[in-house]
């Protein structure tokens, strides 16, 4: 079944590469992008009945950053089970720990090459999301 993917990232280039990568991996996949955290939360308000399979969430965004979004998502009854993949340039252990503690499902470091980007997105799309349904897995948390 074709995945429905939501990407929240304020970086225009990264959205562009992401789109390109997705379209090369899975022609069926649907992708929606939003440009910052605030727009993400507004988007959810309008689409509560049409939620994505996976949210790729950038951390460093204007207005509402990724951590705050993550918190709000986990506190929302309807969104609390959404699969959230942090998608950030950060590799800092503090950020990784905070993301884990706040309930993200996986943590992806934005790759340096297009090839790596394709690979890591493919990995995520191939994940058995049910495995992550109720609890995060510390040993498989960081990807790529």
């Amino acid at each position: 079944m074709a995945r429905y993917i939501l990407l929240a990232d304020d970086d225009k280039d990264d959205r562009f590469f992401f789109q390109q990568a997705i379209s090369q991996i899975d022609k069926e996949a649907r992708l929606t992008t939003v440009n910052d955290g605030e727009k993400l939360m507004l988007w959810f308000l309008d689409n509560m009945d049409n939620l994505p399979d996976i949210l790729f969430l950038d951390l460093n965004m204007p207005r509402l950053n990724g951590f705050t979004c993550l918190e709000q998502i986990r506190q929302n009854r309807k969104l609390s089970h959404l699969f959230v993949a942090i998608y950030s340039t950060s590799t800092s252990p503090q950020d990784i720990k905070e993301a884990f503690d706040k309930g993200a499902n996986i943590f992806i470091n934005k790759p340096n090459s297009f090839e790596d980007l394709r690979n890591v997105i493919r990995k995520v799309l191939d994940l058995d999301l049910a495995e992550y349904a109720d609890h995060v897995q510390p040993d498989k948390f960081v990807l790529g």
Partner: protein
């Protein structure tokens, strides 16, 4: 010192007889044959233990002389024994006492009594003198003590002021250091972003327009990619360096064998590709920050693999030498860890330089590198109050020697006594 007695009598024979009586007792005598002469003597000398004075003398009698003597402050301490033939009435005797006289001796003189009385006063005088001497000494000692205390207070204040200044300087330095580290971290972090884009776009360019680009176009794109990659490596290494600098100085006893095993896993691919033989002899457990030992040995091992001779598969050997009192300046015990390779080596003259930031002995086209690895190693080892040094021969191989203190206190000491390398 012989006690001095002043004898005052207008009759020489009296003087002589008194002297004769007292001669065996070891006194020194000064004679005066009148009150006036006695006063004259006392102008020059006042260190008499006792004055023996006849009362009945022409012109100035004994009492009058005594009164004049005692007018002078300095002389008031000298007791006077009056010698008199008269049996005075109570009022006369009282007059004598008033002038300060202490005793009387009646004529004819009883020699035993005279000697006894004189000796009592002399004894008193001697004791007094000793007491006074001691007092003087005490005063001097007191003064010295006071001076010493003052000096000490002054120097204490100076030390305190200096200390305060030092503390301020240290605070300032630490703050500056932290700022620098933060700056390096932020700068390298933010620098990575545009670079990542350059890499991604050139990737896309190369992949998507491969058919359109001619040979030189492809070469240009290749060079862009190459430069971007190199800059990224550089930034990554600077980032590692500033992370190491920010690393807390917490040391736990750690098994170096386990750490080396981890490092081996990290370099597994390269080692296989180069057909390297990496021999790790039994290593000790040392007080180290394990998070810092990883990059240390990672850098030393990757260097050993990188600078292998083209036609000779690398053989790297890691071994430890136990308690060695290294470096004449210190008695502390160090463990020396040797990382030996059979690679291309270098001229020994560069053995110190290679540990400086951005120092490289080879161009990038020969061997890739950022010139940060060994600077990082040095920083890590020095954070453990240890030393790092290198021995090498061109085309034979290099040996890097890491000396780490065995004693936790030595590891934790605020700063290394000497940051020179011990070879």
């Amino acid at each position: 010192m012989q006690p001095k007695i002043l004898l005052v009598d207008d009759r020489e024979d009296n003087l002589m007889s008194i002297e004769a009586i007292l001669s065996m007792d070891g006194y020194r005598f000064v004679r005066a044959t009148s009150g006036r002469q006695a006063l004259k003597v006392l102008l020059q000398e006042w260190d008499f233990a006792l004055i023996l004075m006849d009362v009945k003398m022409p012109n100035l009698n004994g009492f009058e002389t005594a009164a004049l003597i005692y007018e002078r402050e300095k002389l008031r301490q000298i007791p006077i024994i009056f010698i008199t033939a008269h049996t005075y009435g109570e009022d006369q005797i009282f007059r004598g006492y008033q002038t300060g006289a202490v005793d009387y001796i009646y004529k004819p003189i009883n020699p035993g009594l005279l000697r006894a009385k004189v000796s009592v006063f002399i004894e008193l005088y001697k004791k007094n003198a000793t007491l006074m001497q001691q007092e003087q000494k005490l005063i001097v000692i007191n003064k010295n003590l006071e001076n010493e205390i003052n000096e000490r207070k002054l120097s204490e204040e100076k030390v305190r002021a200096l200390n305060l200044e030092l503390l301020k300087t240290i605070d300032h330095l630490e703050a500056t250091n932290k700022e620098l580290d933060r700056f390096a971290f932020m700068a390298s972090h933010d620098l990575q972003e545009p670079l990542r884009k350059i890499r991604l776009f050139s990737d896309r360019l190369a992949a998507t327009y491969n058919n359109v680009l001619d040979e030189s176009g492809k070469m240009f794109v290749g060079r862009i990619q190459n430069s971007a990659e190199r800059m990224q490596a550089l930034i990554r290494d600077i980032l590692t360096f500033s992370k190491v600098a920010a690393e807390k100085k917490i040391f736990t006893k750690s098994d170096l064998n386990a750490i080396l095993q981890d490092v081996l896993l990290q370099i597994e691919d390269v080692a296989k590709e180069k057909k390297a033989d990496i021999i790790i002899e039994d290593l000790p457990s040392l007080y180290v920050n394990p998070a810092l030992m990883q990059p240390l040995f990672y850098n030393l091992l990757t260097n050993a693999l990188k600078y292998a001779r083209k036609d000779v598969p690398p053989v790297v050997r890691i071994r430890a030498e136990g308690k060695i009192a290294a470096n004449g300046a210190t008695t502390a015990n160090y463990c020396r860890i040797f990382v030996e390779d059979n690679g291309i080596g270098f001229e020994q003259q560069y053995a110190e330089q290679i540990f400086s930031m951005f120092t490289r002995l080879h161009g990038n086209s020969e061997y890739e590198g950022t010139g940060i690895g060994l600077a990082l190693c040095k920083k890590i080892v020095e954070d453990h109050n240890g030393f790092i040094s290198a021995r090498s021969k061109v085309n034979e191989g290099s040996t890097f020697i890491v000396s780490l203190p065995l004693d936790l206190n030595q590891v934790q000491a605020i700063k290394p006594a000497a940051a020179e390398s011990a070879v």
